[in-house]
């Protein structure tokens, strides 16, 4: 996946390196700007077994800042914000492998370096008893829950880095 560049991210920003589960990494440029979740909308996407995006709706495109053409085929972790603890995503994948539904509050990274919080639900798409992909729906989160997660995730990140 391509590194984020100053062409897409207005200053001031903080540069960080993010490491993904498949050992790949990229440079991300972070801005301390939160974009509010749009009222009355849902962000919907589907991925294949490898977590690559196969479908996304207009709200996904609008909130991510990427074009649909750019998103299709990219790993879903294109939205990964480095403030998210790895343990949250491990829990997601462990839940998927048990063919169960996962819920969680997630801080997502936009193409322009800003971020947005969502309440995400992910389910495995099961056909003939086999997982063939995943559907994820993100909705507007409670601010109180987000505030709880900000401190919880910071603590979890600190423990992961220790």
């Amino acid at each position: 996946m391509e590194n984020m560049t100053a062409n897409d991210v207005p200053e001031p920003y903080e540069e960080r390196q993010i490491q993904y589960w498949d050992a790949s990494s990229r440079t991300v440029l972070l801005r301390d700007v939160e974009v509010p979740f749009p009222e009355g909308k849902l962000i919907v996407s589907r991925t294949d077994m490898d977590g690559k995006i196969t479908h996304c709706n207009q709200s996904f495109v609008d909130m991510s800042g990427f074009s649909e053409d750019k998103l299709i085929g990219e790993p879903h972790y294109i939205l990964r914000h480095p403030d998210m603890p790895a343990a949250a995503f491990k829990d997601l994948w462990d839940t998927m492998s048990r063919k169960e539904k996962w819920h969680g509050y997630v801080k997502n990274l936009r193409k322009d370096g800003a971020y947005y919080w969502v309440y995400a639900t992910v389910i495995p798409n099961i056909r003939n008893n086999e997982i063939v992909g995943y559907t994820s729906v993100r909705r507007k989160p409670s601010r109180n829950k987000v505030n709880e997660c900000i401190s919880l995730y910071a603590k979890m990140k600190k423990e992961e880095q220790a």
């Binding site: 009222e39 009355g40 909308k41 849902l42 729906v137 909705r139 507007k140 109180n144």
Partner: protein, 248 residues
């Protein structure tokens, strides 16, 4: 023995005649006998489905999983460019200006429409509201939901957008929209049960063709849409997956 068709009970009263005309057209088109049975509420309709009394249904997406998984139905078509959307409204005089102003203990006026109520509760989540800390006032029609708000008996109301937009100016001016959903991906579907399988291809073709005939287009208009789009097996599975992500 005629087949039995039914319609999700959340359609506006102005469309009742349209569904009878649609049924007459469908019988002539396929040369089969179909009885249209309309139910007053979702419970009555679900009991009929449970007792295998239904062969054709214009179904609420909330019931799609049960119809496919438990009753062997398959979706044939869905309305063209028409999704199920929800309006959350308050009395025009309410002090509530946004969802986050709503507090635990509020009274919610709603009908028994399952997908509207599900989406409505999702929209209230940012205010930390759920079925545990709110009081539901379930009434028979959206007109009564509006009346509950206007008379100050409830704090907030859930409406199917179509129903809200059909209100008279007199009702509408006494209400205020807090949120109008733009979900786009949830819609009703026309589904056929196991006993009708021999007719499903002819049925699907006839429905898709309706948009090409000016007279048949008028029937569609009386149902509130402009045409049908094919809903294949994977589209239906996706709808079921989607509903599964939304049900807590």
């Amino acid at each position: 023995m005629p087949y039995t068709m039914t319609v999700s009970p959340d359609f506006p009263p102005t469309q009742i005649a349209g569904w009878y005309i649609f049924n007459t057209w469908l019988q002539k088109k396929l040369d089969i006998s179909i009885h249209l049975e309309l139910y007053n509420n979702f419970d009555e309709q679900r009991n009929a489905i449970e007792e295998n009394k239904i062969d054709l249904i214009f179904a609420n997406p909330f019931d799609a999983s049960m119809l496919v998984r438990e009753k062997g139905f398959s979706a044939l078509v869905k309305p063209d460019s028409k999704s199920d959307e929800v309006i959350i409204a308050v009395s025009a005089e309410s002090k509530v200006m946004e969802i986050e102003d709503l507090q635990a203990g509020i009274k919610i006026a709603k009908t028994d429409d399952p997908d509207v109520n599900m989406i409505g509760m999702i929209i209230l989540e940012p205010a930390d509201l759920d079925v545990q800390n709110t009081i539901s006032e379930v009434v028979d029609t959206y007109a009564i939901v509006a009346k509950q708000l206007i008379q100050g008996n409830s704090d907030v109301g859930f409406f199917l957008k179509d129903a809200y937009e059909n209100f008279s100016d007199l009702i509408a001016k006494n209400l205020r929209v807090l949120v109008s959903s733009q979900i786009d991906v949830i819609s009703h579907a026309f589904m056929a049960g196991p006993k009708v399988q021999e007719h499903t291809q002819a049925l699907q073709e006839a429905l898709i063709d309706m948009a090409n005939d000016p007279n048949e287009q008028k029937i569609l208009e009386s149902l509130g849409f402009t045409g049908w789009t094919i809903q294949d097996h994977e589209d239906t599975e996706f709808m079921i997956d989607l509903m599964e992500t939304l049900v807590n």
